[in-house]
């Protein structure tokens, strides 16, 4: 399985993602934002960070960078594209995913472990996963998912919500919503479910000694699903 991680100026989780993908068997290549062509890939990852210093709106500049034309073509042809944190912001700004990520409700940068519940397992990312509720890390200032009434209706009708913020037992409620996200949304798919954006960082949960193993479960399952 071949993967590509795009590095934008200001990305800072690109190398963590590289380590995670390689650990679970991907042959990963790092791709610079100014390149125009993607290497042969089964999965393209837009990593977390602060691309272009979050100028204008988070992800807005990166969504217009040269490599994104190839990423858009790849996604529109059914290729798997995953955006984590700033990568999620870039995906919504590029129009590949619906909605936007607003500033967190209480105006705080949030950096902590949270629980998220997989809503939909009928896709390449969460299919066959042995868990419903994962403990992942979040670190963001703009993770407050928002979209119009028509969009949220469409998202629900098409079952496009990937992850909800929940408690340890998978209950989705206001207390477990860290940032004010609409309907506790932590991650969404496009209609075809080949593009996934999520605020939590599975790549930070791959070392049992440091973090726990929920990220390992996610990546092991992901590569098996893509094989």
């Amino acid at each position: 399985m071949h993967s590509s991680v795009i590095t934008f100026p200001g990305s800072n989780c690109d190398r963590d993602m590289d380590v995670a993908l390689k650990k679970f068997g991907f042959k990963n290549k790092m791709v610079w934002h100014d390149d125009t062509e993607l290497p042969k890939s089964d999965l393209v990852v837009l990593p977390g960070g602060f691309s272009y210093g979050d100028y204008l709106r988070c992800g807005s500049m990166a969504s217009k960078s040269k490599i994104m034309k190839s990423v858009l073509n790849f996604a529109q042809g059914g290729g798997k594209v995953m955006g984590i944190c700033n990568g999620f912001q870039i995906l919504v700004e590029s129009g590949l995913l619906p909605g936007v990520l607003l500033r967190n409700k209480y105006l705080e940068f949030i950096c902590k472990n949270v629980f998220v519940k997989a809503n939909n397992k009928d896709n390449s990312y969460f299919k066959n996963n042995k868990k419903d509720v994962y403990e992942f890390h979040i670190a963001h200032n703009e993770g407050n998912y928002f979209c119009s009434n028509e969009q949220i209706k469409e998202i629900n009708d098409n079952d496009q919500i990937a992850l909800f913020y929940s408690d340890e037992n998978g209950n989705v409620n206001e207390q477990s919503n860290p940032n004010g996200s609409l309907q506790n949304i932590a991650g969404v798919f496009n209609k075809q479910k080949n593009v996934l954006g999520m605020m939590p960082h599975p790549e930070r949960m791959i070392d049992p000694a440091l973090s726990g193993e929920d990220g390992s479960i996610f990546f092991e399952n992901l590569i098996n699903n893509l094989k």
Partner: protein
Amino acid sequence: MKISVVITLKKDVLDPQGKVIHQTLDGIGFEGINEVRQGKYFEIDTNESDKKKAEEKVEEMCKKLLANLVIEDFKIIGSQ
């Protein structure tokens, strides 16, 4: 031509920064404020000398990059 454009959050989008500014203004004694909404202001100097064409160009810029139309509205407020 120099075009000035203001970008604001749409009415139904929560503006937590505006809210905090409102509370702070209340706190330092400004009375009678109903609401504060924060926005962005851009001045774009272009080579285009035709006002209509310059404004059309800036409109296009707003749609493609400067504003996110899911949550924001834009308004050209001056051309000189």
